[in-house]
Amino acid sequence: MTNIYNDPIGHWVVVVVAMALMLFVLLTGAAYAVWYERVALGHIQRRPGPNRVGPWGLMQMAADGVKLAFKESFIPAQTDRVIYVIAPTIAVAAAFLAWAVIPIGLWYNVQYWIADVNVGILLIFAVSSLNVYAIVLGGYSSNNKYSLLGGLRSAAQLISYEMSLGLSLVPTFMIVGSLRLRDIVDYTVHWGPYTGPIPLILLTPIGFFIYMISAVAETNRTPFDLPEAEQELIGGFLTEYSGLKFVLYYLAEYVNIITASALATLVFFGGWYLWFVPPVLAFFLKVVLLVFVYIWLRGTFPRLRYDMLMRLGWKVLLPLAIVNVIVTGVIIVVVQG
């Protein structure tokens, strides 16, 4: 394995294969995230959800995809055509880019990654904040006042929550002392007789809660789905999109959910380490559980009003995150001397 990486051509072959594999896994994962969301929301409302197409409705997404793909690719009059088409591709590109640095443990000492960047998590933040461009540009270019309002809301919302999202992870970096995701997962403690990796949520529970709330807001999910807001804004930035361009936005949303869940798994739940469970299965289980939390939140809470959203972001989460960083710093200094 090491030899392949040292050979320049071999390295590129490995990277390209890894990217293709990751693309396939993510597309499938996003499709089944949609399926699972529909089923889980159904169960929360005591109905079965899609269960007709294929066993347990597993082929429902294929049917929907074919239907959407065959729709007319419609561009409304007097739109900014170039931006209108580019905006959804930005959404998808930004969603997939984050996976360039996310490592996955495949087996007990075999790990998988496309790029092992030593500031991986910063890269994820940088890329995930590109998502706001997709939404703002999509809303701006649609030549529709609802789309524009949705885009503006989204810009304000994403900027507000980006701060607490970043700060919520700072205590973790301070404890681990590295921004490389693999190092964070492998963070080892010596506590009494125990030596080994631990889920960092035990050390930074407040950070996890801030991260979770901010991540829901970052991915524009209920109860923070103000850019879409079907009741007031018809669909916000999505109003004028149909067919495959709509699919791109939809895909990006679900890939972002999986990314946020995977990141939480890596940073807070010890990644692929789970007792005796095989690493890849453990990683999968943790991600699915976190995706379920997203769906659970969506099935429970109503949408926040806009001023509530801003107040929560700036007056509650941001100060809490800053205090969390300061307190963690003090504790680290006290413990380590």
């Binding site: 929360i44 409302q45 005591r46 109905r47 659970w296 429970t300 809470f301 001023d307």
Partner: protein, 181 residues
Amino acid sequence: MADEPKKPDGENPSVLGDIGALAKGLKTTLGEYFSPQVTLQYPEDKSPRSERYRGRHYLRRYDNGLERCIGCELCAAACPVGCILVIAAENTEEKRVSPGERYAKTYEINMLRCIFCGYCEDACPVQAIVLGPEYELSDTSREKFVYTKEKLLEPLPPDVQARLDARPHPNPPPRAGEGKT
């Protein structure tokens, strides 16, 4: 916050209380997640119909196979939308269709017009027409909705037949001799 509605007295807003409320909501939805579902898988399972449900019509026969309908056209007269067409003909010794003097040569119901009020069933003096439990009457052309006598004379579902047999007749049964020829 000036734009926030005031909370009712006796409820002291507190952060812990609010978080508790959120947790309670999450608990409720999680409980629902694991509760049995209420959905009926429709084409396979159907919700039970009332005994007196008014679905599609049936023309009944006596036990000996003779048609009950005597072609009196009272059903057509009672029909509020005029969807029943009855053309009567005389029974003869060679061709006896019903026990009475006349029988319905043509009996048609336009199901697109029918409002399923059941007045025809009430009007019929010999209990010839009844409304059965079927309600899935969709079809592919308008012509197919004009139910002819052949279709209406299809045997009733057995459970409906048994129920009708047990029901006391609101109208006098056919006079002795008329029912058996």
